[in-house]
């Protein structure tokens, strides 16, 4: 950036603004500024600290101290920087801080980039300094400032705002979205066409392609509730539980092996995975879902299923290497359980406080260990189900363990004993537990006063339906995370989730019914350029589907997919050259075409195709997957034996199921893959390809034989059979196949 230019511009603007600063105060409508000028005491934590955080701490804070100045704690701020004091208590006129932010210093203005301080902000700073620059009333200053952070404030259900374009609003979500679009002069995108809608909904709710028959039925359905019924049908299918269960398994760091050096298989881990699928299918309310996973074993007369749910925290990687210090690894396990719980339910990086008090969020090391007590007395046990099958779960230790702070996070360096408690910045227990009890923690997480859990859960659901959370940092609702793009909408969704008895299915239904969700993912290019990240939601977002879905789409289109839900994980055949765990034996042919989510997760040697498409590494909770786009992915879709087998099977399916001419078959194959008919150009291009492929295969019958494989297409020549395989391979490699729009 041309810095000189910007500086000059900012300076010019401020010079225009600055001289009026001392006199403009009285004219300000802003009540804050008005109170400042009336001499009412300024509340540092509420009024001043947020300005410093937003405008100054980037260069004068924890990570950087430009000009030797820090403004993030009192002593440093009072000391000033290389050019001397920045704050002269009682004299804002002479305080360099005020002069710099208001452009009264020659050649330098602060902040040098981004928006400067507004008149009322300058006014507040000045008034605060004139009143003596009191950093805070009490020693708990930083906590007080952070307690005012948006995500720690109680959730209050906002009323949907009034909007001009009422006709567009299908439910309250749309009002919140429009309320930001309208002042920005951005109209929402048109509704996506029916083909796009059914494919989007099928991918979002099942992770599977819709059948051509379902697509045609939906497109032809003229009833006003066609979309509504489609959503209900998809939500009622067991494939819904697979799709949303897999999202949860990312958080649960689910795997079928222990990890670390030995990485032994966990032969019964899949039972927990199936519990998750089932829980989504029966729409187990999220508070109950929480309680059973964290403390199912402690429920009165706990059933096998409820105990099984505690498998959530048996997904922790385990080191069984010789010479391992058992206590060290037990502590690591407990720490992993707390950190995962913090990420998944609270959206906080609590793990930072294991070794030292959190640098950014109001969580002390003592508070961390207060939370740790809840997991410290849980033992790992194996139970037997009614069918004799085994499952790995948690159970209360017969002898409860005392919890001590580990100084610097070192278990060999114990400090004070701590009692169970939760962070002071959040609500307290009622009644206060005398002993750590995981049930108490689960109830605290889903208590009506908890400001985080419902927001974090609603935001995650939003992320899966829009590709991005309203809070983009889904794993960090703390002060270092990004603020929500639509704070009121987030609170409204969180309230809805709770009001609907924590029904995740209902919240998903509500979101997919909105006009916001149904928008096309393409918008006006000029408007799109003005909001490149689509923060205002003037369109849907397209994205490359997750690793398992890439596989399921190819298998689904070709008809190879085994629709079986649940059961032990299977071992797919590995491609040539892949690193192979000696215990990896490919499962029988009948298992090979199951959905991607049933592939055995060997932590240290994960299945390469899944890795290639950014599947999580299953060691820690994954809240957001990468969406890379690489030539190695192209090689996988082009050459991996499973994908080629899909092309061969698709060719046979098209030949058998469609009796028409070449064009009709092209049309059918296209619909199987992309859930829409091809347009004329596309159909022409594929017809040209078919002719080309037939000619090439006629000229090389050996190649044709290998390409056509064992599947003979009755009535087709060998070259034609091979050409159909080539055409199907082409379709299975299109960008559109792996993109959800």
């Amino acid at each position: 950036m041309n810095r000189t230019f910007v500086l000059a511009t900012v300076a010019a603007i401020l010079i225009c603004l600055a001289p009026s600063w001392p006199v403009v105060a009285g004219e300000m409508g802003n009540s804050v500024a008005a109170s400042a000028t009336r001499g009412e005491p300024i509340d540092f934590a509420r009024q001043v600290a947020p300005i410093l955080t937003r405008k100054c701490h980037g260069c004068h804070g924890t990570n950087r101290q430009e000009g030797g100045l820090r403004l993030d704690f009192e002593a440093a701020a009072r000391q000033g920087g290389d050019s001397g004091a920045a704050i002269l208590p009682g004299n804002s006129r002479k305080s360099r801080l005020v002069r710099l932010v208001s452009g009264l210093e020659e050649r330098l203005v602060m902040p040098p980039e981004g928006d400067g301080l507004s008149g009322s902000e300058i006014e507040l700073l000045a008034a605060w300094i004139d009143q003596g620059a009191q950093w805070s009333e009490d020693a708990g200053g930083p906590v007080r400032a952070a307690a005012d952070h948006w995500s720690f404030r109680p959730i209050r259900r906002p009323s949907p705002p009034a909007v001009t374009r009422e006709g567009w609003v299908r439910n309250s979500i749309d009002a919140f979205v429009l309320a930001r679009l309208e002042p920005a002069g951005m109209p929402p995108a048109a509704e996506a066409d029916r083909y796009t809608l059914i494919r989007r909904l099928s991918l979002d709710l099942h992770g599977l392609p819709p059948s051509p028959a379902d697509v045609e039925a939906f497109v032809a359905d003229t009833h006003s509730d066609a979309y509504d019924r489609l959503a209900d049908r998809l939500l009622a299918s067991p494939h819904f539980g697979e799709r949303w269960g897999r999202h949860w398994l990312d958080l649960a760091r689910y795997a079928d092996s222990n990890g670390y050096d030995n990485d032994e298989p966990r032969p019964s881990a899949w039972r927990y995975r199936d519990w998750v699928i089932d829980a989504f299918n029966r729409d187990l309310p999220f508070d109950r879902f929480t309680l059973e996973q964290l403390a199912g074993d402690l429920l009165p007369a706990a059933t096998f299923e409820q105990k099984l749910a505690t498998g959530f925290h048996r997904n922790t990687p385990t080191n069984t290497e010789g010479g391992v210090d058992r206590e060290e690894f037990r502590v690591k396990t407990v720490v992993d359980r707390l950190n995962t719980t913090g990420t998944v339910w609270l959206g906080l990086t609590v793990g930072c406080a294991e070794c030292h008090s959190h640098k950014y969020d109001p969580l002390s090391q003592r508070e961390y260990y207060g939370l740790l007590t809840f997991f410290n007395s849980a033992d790992e046990v194996v139970i037997e189900g009614p069918d004799g099958a085994k499952a790995e779960v948690l159970a209360r230790s017969p002898t409860p363990r005392a919890t001590r702070i580990h100084l610097r996070g070192d278990f060999l360096n114990p400090g004070d004993k701590v009692r169970p408690h939760t962070p002071a910045v959040l609500h307290s227990f009622s009644p206060f537990p005398l002993q750590s009890d995981r049930r108490q923690l689960a109830r605290w997480l889903t208590a009506p006063e908890n400001p985080l859990t419902a927001r974090v859960a609603a935001n995650r659901i939003w992320q899966h339906l829009f590709g991005r959370g309203l809070v983009a940092t889904v794993d960090d609702f703390g002060t270092q995370g990004q603020p929500p793009t639509h704070p009121e909408l987030l609170d409204w969704l969180a309230s809805e989730l709770v009001d609907r008895r924590w029904s995740q299915k209902q919240l998903i239904k509500l979101i997919v019914m909105s006009a916001t969700y149904r928008q096309a993912s393409t918008g006006d290019p000029d408007r799109a350029a003005s909001d490149p990240e689509n923060l205002l939601l003037a369109r849907q977002n397209p994205w490359r589907v997750e690793a398992e879905v890439v596989r399921d789409l190819a298998l689904g289109a070709s008809g190879l997919l085994s629709p079986r839900v649940g059961g032990p994980s299977f071992y797919p055949a590995l491609p040539e050259g892949a690193d192979k765990d000696p215990r990896w034996q490919a499962s029988p042919a009948g298992e090979q075409h199951r959905r991607g989510m049933y592939i055995f997760t060997q932590r240290t040697t994960p299945y390469p195709m899944l890795v290639q498409f950014d599947a999580p590494d299953s060691h820690v909770a994954c809240t957001r997957r990468d969406r890379s786009n690489t030539p190695l992915q192209a090689l996988t879709l082009l050459n991996d034996p499973l994908f080629f087998e899909s092309a061969q099977a698709l060719a046979e399916r098209v030949w058998v199921e469609c009796a028409g001419d070449t064009r009709a078959r092209i049309d059918y194959a296209f619909r199987l893959c992309l859930a829409r008919p091809p347009n004329q150009q596309e159909s022409d291009r594929l017809a040209t390809l078919f002719v080309e492929q037939t000619q090439l295969c006629q000229a090389d019958s050996q190649a044709a034989q290998a390409l056509a494989g064992d599947r003979t297409l009755q009535g087709a020549s060998l070259a034609e059979a091979a050409a159909w395989v080539g055409l199907c391979r082409t379709l299975l490699n299109l960008d559109e196949l792996v993109t959800r729009r």
């Binding site: 969406r627 690489t630 192209a634 390809l689 290998a706 082409t730």
Partner: protein, 491 residues
């Protein structure tokens, strides 16, 4: 990725091309190159005229005459202990076990060290002078010691970050926040790729905790992201076409894939589609080029031994192979090879773990320098060895207070080195005080270091910009000045 920032220009330009089915590889190449790299395409390129190259993401001229055309960027994650490897401090031996003087303690923050009880920690490592230049290097790097006349050691690096994630981001992307392009992505964007058959930016990793933001394209189009080759088994899978899939039959399908994707791209303008088209074109050519790349059978026993590809230690063996692959990648025109090794974060067990890390990396890196030189690639290939910060002259008493054997993060003075690609070897730049605490001569900030890398590639760090969210961003954020002492020919 739902990234629409280039949508307006791209859809406008997309319509300049011919209809599907008629577009040739060369026209596509110029279309994609024009869309996705730094400069505007020339008139004839924009009109879809052949550019003479097939489907590659065409190279772009730099701002001025470069000395380097390729880079092997070796990033050692965790914070290298400069006091045990590169920056000898005899004073620390005198002060070993003594408390930190008030003068030094006043203005510092540590990640873990407790200031009030902090004690100096001497290095147990012997340093001696090597080469004609007489550079002092630790006994832990016996192989590198043989190359000191080629390397420029910077002892005066400094950064703002004292934690890993921001430090990692600063060293690899030039800012403390995530979401910005890496050095390799900027070079790819600025210069395009010379490699027809392999990605222009390849990443090879050994070790854990490495995040994808290290080789991210950030806000640049995603063709500029590093392509990570596998560290387990073969580096690239699925290179072999299915049985019967002759190159001609394959190419005919690839043409259709490209044309159909191009139709979508013209209809929707989504830059991810353009990136996928480029990825498929590259994948097609990688099928021929990559098997040859990863097949080391043509390397002589002497070469393999020099890198140490058959050393008994599994990590040592992997890193040696990765260094050899780096040379092979550069030989084949790959612009930027990023080798990442983890973990150098020794808060405790410094003696043991640093020795082991050096055992893994020293021999292959030295072999790489010699090998490049022998093949005439050294003068145009910049080799960088860097880290996110250094380690403290005091011991990390946070870990094992009774028996501290580790050092904490130290952002105010650390060491990195460069060689080849127009760097003047056999010199030490900068100096730290007698404790190794602060830089006292020729400070080099990470932004300066990046500005210098770009300069070696003929790029002015102030001019290599990308407009995002209404602002022109650059690798060097709002800082950076070229360190002219590092350059062979002073400019």
């Amino acid at each position: 990725m739902n990234d629409w920032r280039e949508l307006a220009t791209q859809s406008r330009r997309g319509f300049l091309t011919s209809t599907a089915g008629g577009i040739g590889g060369a026209a596509l190449a110029s279309l994609l190159a024009g869309e996705l790299s730094a400069s505007e395409p020339s008139q004839h390129e924009a009109a879809g005229m052949p550019a003479g190259e097939d489907g590659r993401f065409a190279p772009r001229p730099p701002h001025f005459r470069p000395s380097a055309t390729h880079c092997i960027f070796i990033y050692l994650y965790g914070g290298i202990s400069q006091l045990d490897l590169f920056d000898p401090k005899p004073k620390l031996a005198e002060l070993d076990g003594q408390p930190l003087p008030e003068s030094l303690a006043a203005n510092v923050r540590f990640a873990f060290v407790k200031k009030d009880t902090a004690r100096f920690l001497a290095s147990p490592r012997k340093f001696s002078r090597h080469g004609q230049c007489g550079m002092e290097i630790s006994e832990l790097l016996p192989h590198l010691a043989g190359c000191v006349d080629e390397i420029a050691l910077v002892r005066s690096m400094h950064t703002e970050a004292f934690n890993h994630a921001p430090g990692e981001l600063m060293t690899n992307t030039g800012t403390l926040a995530s979401g910005h392009p890496s050095v390799g992505a900027w070079l790819s964007y600025g210069l395009g790729s010379e490699s027809t058959d392999l990605p222009g930016y390849v990443v090879l990793i050994l070790g854990e905790r490495i995040k994808a933001y290290t080789w991210s394209n950030g806000f640049l189009p995603s063709v500029h992201q590093g392509v990570r080759l596998g560290s387990q088994g073969e580096p690239v899978h699925n290179l072999h076409r299915p049985a019967g899939m002759t190159p001609a039959i394959d190419r005919s399908q690839l043409d259709a894939i490209r044309d159909l994707n191009l139709l979508s791209y013209r209809h929707l303008g989504d830059p991810e589609i353009a990136a996928r088209i480029a990825a498929y074109e590259l994948a097609f050519r990688m099928q021929s080029a990559a098997p040859e790349l990863i097949d080391l059978s043509a390397e002589t026993a002497g070469t393999l031994n020099s890198y140490g590809t058959d050393r008994p230690d599994a990590d040592a063996k992997t890193f040696a192979t990765q260094c050899l692959l780096a040379r092979r990648l550069v030989e084949r025109g790959v612009r930027f090879v990023n080798l990442i090794h983890s973990n150098w974060d020794q808060h405790k067990d410094l003696d043991r773990d640093l020795a082991r890390n050096c055992l893994v990396v020293d021999q292959p890196i030295a072999a790489l320098l010699k090998d490049l030189k022998q093949r005439g690639l050294f003068d145009t290939t910049l080799v960088v060895v860097c880290t996110e910060f250094g380690r403290t002259p005091v011991s990390d008493n946070g870990q094992k207070p009774d028996m501290p054997n580790g050092r904490d993060h130290h952002p105010s003075a650390f060491s990195v080195w460069m060689a080849g690609g127009g760097v003047r070897g056999g010199q030490v730049i900068g100096q730290t005080d007698e404790f190794g605490w602060n830089v006292v001569e020729d400070p080099v900030h990470v932004n300066d270091f990046h500005a210098t890398i770009l300069h070696l590639f003929g790029l002015d760090h102030l001019k290599l910009t990308y407009r995002f969210k209404g602002r022109d961003f650059r690798l060097t954020d709002v800082g950076g000045k070229v360190v002219h002492k590092l350059l062979r020919s002073v400019s």
